[in-house]
Symmetry: D2
Subunit: 444 residues, 4 copies
């Protein structure tokens, strides 16, 4: 079940995958670089990863280099106890905590912020229960963390007091299951129960579950709105909200905020398709699916050594020429980070004879980096950080460009006051060590 | 360029791939089982497959077992001449031709019908030009064949007199290119020139091209309409027709022929999406994309050993629950062959609380096998061969089921008299050896 | 059993391996490039290669390029009959036979001389039994051939009339087994029965065996003496002779023919070890094993990019320094082909302070190429073809160099009149097409 | 150079391999399970493992499970310093040290005793130099250890005060090199300088080397005599002694201690060959090499599912039948641990008709486990621990069996008082935690 859960959540990270199981006596693990489908083989699931308690992780590297050492779950032993940890999120006070630990003679074997958590837990376990140790360790760390610990046969889940990242609880038969998104539950035919509260700790052992408030929730909850805009799967619930409907609403609000005369609305699949559906319904323009995806473009293909311009962009999507020529095309996108790929696609549409090209974006301009687990930086510089919307429109080669407003966006979600908008407005709920822009672990 | 062309055409066959090149002195080849991305490595394209003339093939096994022996292009030597052949299509008089050749002492090293063509060409080359030999060989074979020969540095393309399978000519810079579908040209930024005529032979050598009518076209042209319905990529032209527009038209005609009261229209992606777009536009019902695809489901995944019902179907698509519950769902499909997968999906929608489920199919009932290269049989029995539409609807668990009519379908294409409709009405343009239902090569 | 037989015979060829089985209804095959251990997996032996009749082949390319196409057993179908062939040896009239066959319209799919045999057999089977067809085909071919055919469930073995290559018959339980060398029988705990006669055909079917003289033996038998000198495994019988004893005798005769004052005798392992043992025993000099082999040098290792001279030679063997310094070393080798490696090793011994270095070779100078299956040419030019023994000794940096005489060599074997000595004296028992030095298939 | 050094030392461990380099700024590593040839690829050596300082390790698991986590060199960071460790040997007070460290809140990520060393070094570095910290850490650990540390650009080598394991210093050009055996130097064409002293620390930085006595040597030096008997390569020096000559001397002394009437002397290659050469020279019996090795038996082969007795033993060596029949065979072995394989081989010789079979062993009976790095236990129970020599001879099916005496063995080495003989006489130089027989890390 853990394997299938990871399979369903693969979109959240493709760098590495791992599963750890406990069969009552022995802890077993399999971790590797790459996709779930590559890391696990039949023999792992059939024989090797036996046990009645299991946890898995897929990694989308935000801190720490891309190394097998950094694949999670992270496992250690301490006084004969097996401790394992899966961490979704990103700490912001790692540097000062590492310094403090190193002054006590602690060595680090990975570059993950999660290793800091584990050292803290071990220190605090000297004379306490695992639950107490985890609560104390959490009181020391800052940033985003949805954590799942395995302490021999016991599972302990905690969600940070800001509620940055999602974490959902479900039930399949007699067993409790936890996952970042409910699409993992659907595949297992598990029943969705609820989202964990900020500052909540769940302890699961022998089929029983107990809930504790291990820490006061932050004054202002700060769930990541980008999960709803882009990151989560559209068939999931996150933060108890339906992602599909949120995205369609964003498209509808976008159509109200910035309508345009066009022949049809289309997305660049698969990004933006749900907002485009909403935009089309609200605007009354026909929805078309005339950018065709090559379903066989895998993770790698051999680049032409010369001559074929923009090959890696064009190989993935090809426009239907007859649909573009002479048309006023309205494109709905769910976000613009760097803009390079979009620019190539717009240019291609121009060359095919599009009469007008308008773009509507269901996410406000992203102007600030995220310190809580969304790796915008991996996509290069944020174009909106340094350029006006007009400049961006010119750069992309568009006839018009409009973004949804922050206000409009918040109309599309429930509990608008509970979301972190730092990437739009720079209002960081908790500041990183040493201030903004100083976060870097690899230097250590 | 051949590699990228195959990449673009991967949907036409996933069993094996191969490329053969001629560098003025040596013929080079790389063939292997699996996808283009798996068969070729950087070293093949960079160093090993040098040359100024090249041809490639991807195989979708309709005759012949799944073996590396059967990977094409098929290469032989004859009197110091290198002959290579790529064959799209399926012969129907292989058995009698093999018998005739074996009576002359010919041995067969593969189970492909294409080997028969090569033996005939060699026999007829004894005293003639390659062009004459190919023309004579083609006068002996029956069935569907778009062929590309390499005879040392010369490329010779022929299309069968019925025009069953597509074959298009393009130009990139000084070079001529040929491909089954124009999406291969788009990736190369090649200019599309035209479709070959039934009975036409093109000879390309030293950058010059000559066209011959090597055989009278059949009285009635018989292009495969299933290419337009399902098989070709929607961004391609085949038979000089735009696939995307044809599919959207089928959806529109379907909406006229069998409207339904529903809350929205949706496809099971990606099959049926273009007809669904047309249906939605014509009917005025909203288009929704609420079956979510897991983009990381690769060719293989580990099956759960027990318990999870219909796993391999459910892992690929997951419905958005809130969109289904209490709704009247109209699903547009592009074809129903066996129906098993559809049945599972309909059941899943029912369990999520769909109020009504209606299906509209943009292809008439498929009642007869295809002998010309579409492998319906690989998908199991044709449900429409033995069951009424009403029965099928009940089996699939639908509230209503309607197929497009043959007449309606023909309204969506240009030159309706030029298409083979045998899979719908059993009117085979050319009969197989030994009559219908007797075709089998593997027994030899 | 076939797999283990190939395993035991791996020294005879490392390019490709294959097994074909017949289970009463279906022929099954697995062929691949590389060693037996790489080509076959558990699933092949456990499930896929079922059957009661089997044959295998390992290829050491003497004609034909190194391609999977050329991996044997070579399998075709002819009139519903499955024909497979494993060929040990090398034909010398392939060019004229190919020409004749091509004039009848035959195409060639491989570059192996074995394909010619198969085409001939098929031609002659038209109206005859397989046995007759094989006999007729053999009357047309010239050169060395130990052949094993599978004709559906029947196995037919033939040995050429000159008796160039070995072929032995054994029995394990109720089953007959055939192999080039008896070391394959030892692994199977099979009983050795006898060597096939030149011109003999064995037919094995349903556990029964019949022997025919399908052709008159050549006037002068011409078994390959290099099998006894170097090629066969020392624990084998070939041509009904014990290889180990033959090699030790060669060493003893060498000690009589050219004694030397030395401190000890040593081989460069593992070549020459048996002759060195014989030399030591006859001369009374101590035998030492002071060139140490690195047992972990596999087929490939990463070459140093700069600086380390002669790395690929030195990595395999390292001398024991203290044994070499100040010593008069007598080295016994079993053959010198090109001499490059030997030269490097001698230089290394000199650098370690050897006082005198004498070499004794248990094979006369190889002056002429072999057309019957030993690929001297793959090892580069034959140094003895163009240089005197004195010159070779100087080139190798030796204090003295002596080869065994042809007369001395013949004293070490039984039936000295029955051996081919062409590589020493140019007396070819059967001349190649177009004369000496013209043999080349790859041009076709 | 590190890669080639590991290549030369592969016989010392086949479980995992790793290299760590320092290029002045970045530490780079590649570690993996399996042989050196499998773990490293061209890209690692060419591009990835750049640097002017490097260290490598091959692992032969004596403590710790067979996991990639446990592959060395073991690398951590501490206060911005990169620390790496390669450890040859085995600690005996790991359990008490782990307990002490865990009481301070230390977690363990591997099951290797080497991790304990690293934690100690880090604790002591808080306020001291790396050299002081390593010396302090070494004062806490007991057992066998030849250690190589990399501390950013600095290399620090230490040898334990007992001198259990070898560690040699060499020079190639301007660079110092360190290795367990000198065969690694030969491949690099490095000059051998000397063996490190027990209790010596070498510090190498910027091409300069300094030697310190970091600890008083133990009263009685305890070098492992089994290195000379069996473990080291015969072309190496270890403990400043020539392995080849030591083994030949053991054979000669064995011939003096227990002569026998026989037809010839032979080893079971490759174990015992050097002692057999010595035995033959001293006894005057002829040396024969009539057990033939299959050079293509790799690490794995497919086991026959039924019927073939003792297959895995027989596939490796095959006797020359004619040499065995009716002969009085004298076999020289270098050690008997469990005896199972020897028993099978003796039985095989009997079945081939050997008249008498005598065995002489150049190692005294091994009666006690080794706690310092030789994993006898992996070979099963020690037969000599519980059985008399007469019983062992009967079990092995021999006509006579004699072992070298401890006194005889010591005559074959220089400085006989400096060797550990605990596996023969139970006189352990340093006792394990909790006493003999209690050593176990996996339980933690």
């Amino acid at each position: 079940m853990t394997y299938f859960g990871l399979y369903a959540l693969q979109h959240r990270g493709q760098e590495s995958a791992g599963i750890i199981t406990w069969d009552g006596q022995t802890i077993r693990e399999q971790r590797g670089m790459g996709l779930v489908a590559d890391v696990f083989e039949e023999r792992h699931l059939g024989h090797q990863l036996k046990g009645s308690v299991a946890m898995g992780h897929i990694r989308y590297s935000t801190t720490g280099a891309s190394l097998i050492r950094n694949a999670q779950p992270f496992k250690v032993t301490y006084k004969g106890i097996n401790l394992a940890l899966a961490h979704n999120g990103n700490l912001v006070n790692t540097i000062s905590l590492r310094e403090e630990l190193e002054n006590q003679g602690t060595i680090f074997q990975t570059t993950m912020d999660s290793e800091v958590i584990m050292h803290l837990v071990a220190k605090y376990m000297n004379g306490g229960t695992p639950e107490e140790a985890i609560a104390k360790a959490c009181s020391r760390i800052q940033g985003s963390y949805s954590l799942l610990f395995m302490v021999d046969q016991k599972l302990i889940a905690v969600r940070d007091p800001w509620g940055f990242r999602p974490l959902s609880l479900g039930r399949v038969g007699d067993a409790y299951v936890l996952a970042s998104e409910t699409c993992a539950f659907d595949l297992l035919e598990a029943e969705y129960l609820r989202c964990l509260d900020p500052g909540e700790m769940l302890v699961i052992e022998d089929g029983r579950m107990m809930s504790h408030r291990y820490m006061e929730p932050a004054e202002k909850q700060s769930s990541c709105i980008f999960e709803l805009i882009y990151f989560a799967r559209p068939d999931s619930l996150v933060f108890d909200q339906e992602v599909y409907n949120a995205r369609k609403s964003m498209g509808k609000i976008l159509a109200q905020e910035c309508p345009v005369e066009g022949d049809f609305v289309m997305p660049f699949p698969d990004s933006g398709v749900y907002a485009a559906v909403g935009y089309a319904q609200e605007s009354g323009l026909p929805f078309e699916a005339c950018m065709i995806r090559n379903h066989y473009v895998g993770r790698t293909f051999i680049q032409p050594t010369q001559g074929m311009r923009d090959f890696s962009v064009r190989v993935k999507l090809n426009p239907v020429k007859s649909m573009i020529k002479g048309k006023r095309v309205v494109i709905v996108e769910d976000s613009i980070v760097r803009g390079t790929t979009i620019r190539t696609r717009v240019k291609q549409l121009r060359e095919l004879g599009a009469k007008e090209i308008h773009m509507r974006v269901s996410c406000p301009p992203i102007r600030y980096p995220c310190y809580y687990g969304i790796d915008f930086s991996s996509k290069g510089e944020l174009i909106a950080a340094n350029h006006s919307v007009a400049d961006i429109g010119r750069y992309l080669g568009l006839d018009s460009l409009h973004y949804i407003t922050i206000g409009g966006l918040l109309k599309a979600v429930r509990g608008p006051e509970n979301f972190c908008l730092a990437c739009f407005n720079g209002a960081y709920p908790v500041l990183p060590d040493g201030g903004i822009g100083k976060l870097s672990l690899e230097c250590c």
